[in-house]
């Protein structure tokens, strides 16, 4: 382990470190402009110059490129070093008179004005705003070595040296990561001068696209486990193999770009399905103008706008930042609609009432609810509805026909007009508002069908998973050991989801605790002597209870999985498969009996 003396202090360091790193480890400050932890040492700015004494002779070195050697004696702030740094500062000041970091560093060294003329009118950074470049090459090295892109290069030599793109053309390879801008010590370089393309913000899914996020991000504040994830589609490392800045910065060493998805097989005794729901896509109903009219937002977007940690810090504002003076809330968007979802989504009435209350409370705006029927069905819900009626919220009974920005009168100018038939008044109303919230319904998850096939459970007509019995077994499925919880079984609010979740957990626990299972007396069996091994029964079984035994060359029934439907028996061409209590000869005897 090398041991060296810096400014009279003995410092021991690991082998392989530079003198600059050794000095920093010893708590000494050496000014630099071109040093960065992500980049290899380059020695461009030369501010880190130090005096090294070896065998009684002194020499000046850039400490960032000088490896620390055993027995080395270093002075970081001696008179010759200070003199060199001051001259460097004057030269840089002449070159970049307006660059804040350069002016600040020069001032630290006691230099406020330069004796040198600005060398040339020529710009030393063709991709910069004002050409104030010290040619440290950090941007070039970062782009080439770290980001593995190489959109930037040095051009020319000596006084003509400049940073630019190849052939001085707008770069086609630039990936708009912005790393050059953030690393430039003089703040000179501008990404907009490197390429014609402009960066597109990555929409933050949790904020419904109302805010942007980075390629590495926390999915949402309550995420479990509460760790960041990397979006492979936008992360530089997955595109170029470079960057890994997050990996360099993580002191815990928790980031691993080489991590792959893995499939783990876990044996379990019970399964609780709690896969939730998807939200109805409001774009489908084009006449409501979602995605076309800026003031029309969905319930989830409103939820984020309302939230204190949301994109507007909880201020209810329209897309152009105004506080709305009139807000319309449209119920049953996609729900109770023969064209979309015939069922009631259950939660929309109450969250719409909550929205109305929040708008009233936060902005005092006029709120109009357009509803088909008010379904305040839960405990305390009717009371909340009554409270809103007293809060001067307007309720119009009628389904909204259209939302438009085409004004028919001066009072509608610049507004969104909600057109609906008021079925209580028996007339069509046009209500001009600044913001429309669409109370979008709940629909089955997009992957419900796939999951359905994996688990062999059924779905009801609306696409949600079907329970075993609507009244007597609302948590079980026809497949024993698989339980349903929450909105995957049907639209449900939070208290109902919590109740069903607890019931599903209890069901799973009781199954495991019992330690034994009860089998149906009616089930299939296969006569091994007769079975020809055609495997038609394997394909027929809805429960994957029939398995082909390769060694014996016959199919066999897993008794604990068989539900006794007999489909395999009907499909069996050899008669090897039989159903207990419903054997072929029993049924044929019955047929003969009824025809006697």
């Amino acid at each position: 382990m090398p041991s060296l003396i810096i400014d009279g202090r003995k410092i021991e360091v690991e082998s392989g470190v530079t003198v600059l790193e050794a000095a920093r480890a010893g708590g000494l400050h050496i000014p630099t402009l071109c040093d960065h932890e992500s980049l290899s040492p380059y020695g461009a700015c030369r501010f880190c110059t130090v005096e090294v004494i070896r065998r009684g002779r002194t020499r000046l070195y850039t400490s960032c490129t000088l490896p620390a050697a055993d027995g080395m004696e270093v002075r970081t702030n001696s008179e010759p070093v200070q003199k060199i740094r001051r001259i460097l500062a004057e030269l840089m000041l002449a070159r970049c008179p307006h660059s804040e970091p350069v002016v600040k560093l020069a001032a630290e060294l006691g230099v406020t004005k330069s004796r040198f003329r600005s060398p040339r009118a020529k710009e030393s950074c063709l991709v910069g705003e004002h050409g104030e470049c010290i040619l440290c090459g950090m941007c070039v090295r970062l782009c080439e070595d770290v980001m593995k892109v190489g959109a930037l290069a040095f051009e020319g030599r000596g006084g003509y040296r400049t940073v630019t793109t190849p052939f001085r053309e707008p770069s086609e390879v630039c990936r708009l990561c912005g790393a050059c801008e953030s690393i430039c010590p003089t703040g000179s370089i501008k990404q907009a001068k490197i390429t014609d393309r402009r960066p597109r913000p990555i929409p933050f899914e949790f904020e419904q696209g109302l805010a942007s996020r980075k390629p590495i991000y926390l999915q949402f504040p309550q995420a479990v486990p509460r760790v960041p994830v990397i979006d492979r589609d936008s992360c530089m490392n997955f595109r170029t193999g470079g960057c890994k800045t997050c990996e360099d910065n993580c002191t815990a060493g928790a980031i691993d770009h080489s991590a792959e998805d893995e499939i783990r097989e876990i044996k379990v005794g019970a399964v609780v399905v709690a896969t939730g729901f998807d939200v109805f896509d409001a774009r489908v109903i084009a006449r409501y103008g979602y995605g076309r009219l800026p003031g029309v937002i969905t319930a989830l977007e409103f939820e984020r706008i309302c939230h204190a940690s949301g994109p507007t810090s909880g201020k209810i504002v329209t897309a152009d930042g105004r506080v709305p003076r009139a807000v319309a809330i449209v119920h049953c968007v996609g729900s109770r609609d023969v064209n979309h979802q015939e069922y009631c989504s259950r939660v929309c009435c109450m969250y719409s009432l909550k929205f109305a209350h929040l708008v009233k409370e936060k902005t005092g705006a006029q709120v109009t609810n357009f509803y088909i029927d008010m379904r305040a069905f839960g405990k305390g819900y009717e009371e909340f509805y009554k409270r809103l009626l007293a809060e001067d919220v307007t309720f119009v009974r009628g389904k909204v026909g259209e939302i438009t920005n085409v004004a028919l009168g001066p009072e509608e100018e610049g507004k969104l007009i909600v057109v609906a038939e008021d079925t209580l008044l028996g007339m069509v109303r046009r209500v001009p508002v600044d913001m429309v919230v669409l109370s979008t319904g709940l629909k089955p998850g997009a992957d419900a069908e796939k999951l359905n096939q994996v688990l062999s459970i059924t779905r009801s007509k609306d696409g949600f998973f079907a329970e075993k019995h609507p009244k007597l077994a609302p948590v079980d499925t026809p497949s024993d050991g698989i339980f349903l919880a929450g909105a995957c079984q049907g639209p449900k609010d939070i208290p109902d989801s919590v109740a069903q979740g607890a019931a599903a957990a209890a069901g799973a626990l009781s199954l495991m605790d019992r330690g034994s299972i009860v089998l149906e007396p009616i089930r299939a069996r296969i006569n091994e002597d007769v079975c020809g091994g055609c495997q038609i029964c394997v394909a027929n079984c809805p429960y994957s209870a029939v398995e082909y035994d390769r060694e014996k060359g016959v199919s066999m029934v897993h008794e604990e999985l068989c539900k006794g439907c007999g489909t395999c028996v009907a499909g069996c061409p050899s008669g090897a498969a039989q159903q207990e209590n419903f054997e072929d000869r029993q049924i044929i005897a019955e047929v003969e009996g009824v025809l006697f």
């Binding site: 062999s456 459970i457 059924t458 779905r459 009801s460 007509k461 026809p478 009616i522 027929n540 809805p542 429960y543 539900k563 006794g564 439907c565 007999g566 489909t567 028996v569 009907a570 499909g571 159903q579 419903f582 072929d584 049924i587 044929i588 019955e590 047929v591 003969e592 009824v594 025809l595």
Partner: protein
């Protein structure tokens, strides 16, 4: 037996969960339908081996009704889909035997559709009355004679 007062005999393979319960409902609802159906309960319409249908016709039935849960509602997830796939093959076979397709019917009758059950039996009885008796023995003799 004259053509006028011919009473057809129908063998019904009813699935235990939907159609058999539907037939029960038709009874408890006091719905009237002809006494032509003779019921054989099976666990699932997917259990109905085409052999059963042919056996029933050969043994003297004039028609066969296979009834199960509606698609997507099968108690055993997809047993009725198997029935749905076997039915056209059976119909092809019966067509080659020269048996009219109206004689064998596949219907989806849920536990709550007692009225549909009664309607299906009524319709089928009317159709079979119009077609007349099957006379399997005579037909098969004619077939073997032709061969």
């Amino acid at each position: 037996m004259t053509e006028q007062n011919f009473e057809p005999v129908i063998v019904g393979f009813l699935c235990q969960w939907c159609s058999y319960t539907g037939a029960d409902l038709a009874g408890t609802s006091r719905l009237e339908y002809p006494p032509t159906l003779r019921t054989v309960r099976v666990m699932c319409s997917g259990r109905v081996d085409p052999t059963f249908v042919v056996t029933a016709l050969a043994d003297g039935a004039d028609g066969v009704l296979i009834a199960g849960c509606h698609p997507g509602d099968c108690h055993y997830s997809e047993g009725n889909y198997r029935a749905m796939r076997r039915y056209p093959l059976l119909m092809k076979l019966l067509d080659q035997f020269g048996i009219e397709k109206e004689r064998v019917r596949l219907e989806w009758i849920s536990a709550s559709e007692g009225d549909k059950f009664a309607r299906v039996v009524r319709e089928m009885t009317e159709q079979l009355k119009a077609l007349g008796p099957l006379n399997w023995q005579k037909r098969s003799a004619a077939l073997s004679g032709a061969a």
